[in-house]
């Protein structure tokens, strides 16, 4: 059972494509499980804000970033201008810059075409799943692509269904609202490889809580991460002297 979740097979396996797809899917399903209720909720809200199903689908295809889509829809319903919505989206999604930078370390051998395709699917969740597996040396760009695009498909389909029929789906069923939180808990634990990472997580968490209470929006994620990583790296270099 454990092997199924953790995918211990090496990427050098020559039965290439099929293995990549199966391993990608087995890494992607917890993300999909988490995206479905959020996608449905997004669809419902977007429809209430006056978007047509085709527009909901286009937004989920072209943007594919949950929190900024929620914000955009609520801004649209209050009559905000296009430019202010786009600038807010940029600020909210700037954290992907850090995630893609971290992933880039593992992708030196990938072609530019694959990277361009892969970039499209970098989200909080796919980043965390792929990074964990890349750093465990059991991952390849093809598997990562399967993760990203499977998650994307779940997001698009659930948001469109939400746009048509989300009203009828009972909120909170099966505790599904907690799926992504539980996933982040496990992914965080997998990252805590030494005291240095624990210290980084503690600082980032504490700073994020304080900033989230004091500044509006979600810029606390980027700020807290940069502050924590810089502080710990500084301590490490200072301690090494």
């Amino acid at each position: 059972m454990k092997n199924f979740w953790n995918n211990p097979i090496s990427p050098q396996n020559k039965r290439g494509t099929k293995t990549s797809i199966l391993q990608g899917l087995s890494a992607a399903w917890p993300i999909c499980l988490g995206y479905i209720p959020i996608g449905l909720a997004f669809g419902v809200l977007a429809q209430k804000a006056g978007l047509y199903p085709i527009e909901i689908m286009l937004m989920s295809i072209l943007v594919f970033a949950g929190s900024s889509q929620f914000i955009a829809v609520s801004m649209l319903s209050t009559g905000a201008g296009a430019l202010s919505i786009i600038l807010t989206t940029f600020a909210v999604n700037l954290r992907h810059l850090l995630m893609s930078s971290s992933l880039a370390v593992f992708l030196g051998n990938a072609t530019r075409r694959k990277l361009t395709l892969f970039a499209y699917g970098v989200t909080d969740e796919s980043f965390a799943v792929n990074y964990t597996r890349f750093s465990g040396k059991i991952w390849s760009v093809n598997r990562a692509l399967v993760v990203n695009h499977t998650a994307n498909l779940a997001w698009i389909v659930s948001s469109v269904i939400g746009g048509y029929s989300g009203r009828f789906i009972h909120q909170g069923a099966f505790g599904i609202d907690y799926a992504l939180t539980a996933m982040f808990i496990c992914l965080l634990i997998l990252q805590l490889k030494s005291r240095l990472y624990v210290l980084t997580a503690v600082i980032a968490g504490a700073v994020a809580v304080i900033l989230s209470l004091t500044i509006p929006g979600s810029s606390y994620i980027v700020l807290a991460s940069i502050i924590a990583a810089t502080t710990v790296l500084g301590l490490k270099k200072w301690g090494a002297k």
Partner: protein
Amino acid sequence: MIHAEVIWVILGMGLVTYLPRWFPLVFLSRRRLPQWLVEWLDLIPSAILSALLLPELVTNGTPRHIALWQPELWVAIPTFVFALKTKSLGGTVIIGMALFWLAQSVI
């Protein structure tokens, strides 16, 4: 049927979301990065995951306020222990959902 302004908003959002995802992948993956940057980037995932997670557990509402008496936080403790013991992503998601469901139906 389609609103012209909504389409411009969606296209603009798509562009400003895609570029920060794409730029570092294409420009950093081919370069030998300085050692300090590699070490710094190595700390970023722990930092981001914690910064995403902790405010969700201990705060609530808009604007956010501290909310310690919520199932999000209390369910996180057994979920955390389970994840620590098993290191199983799928298992943790199932356990977390089950406990959260239970907590919500009790409260």
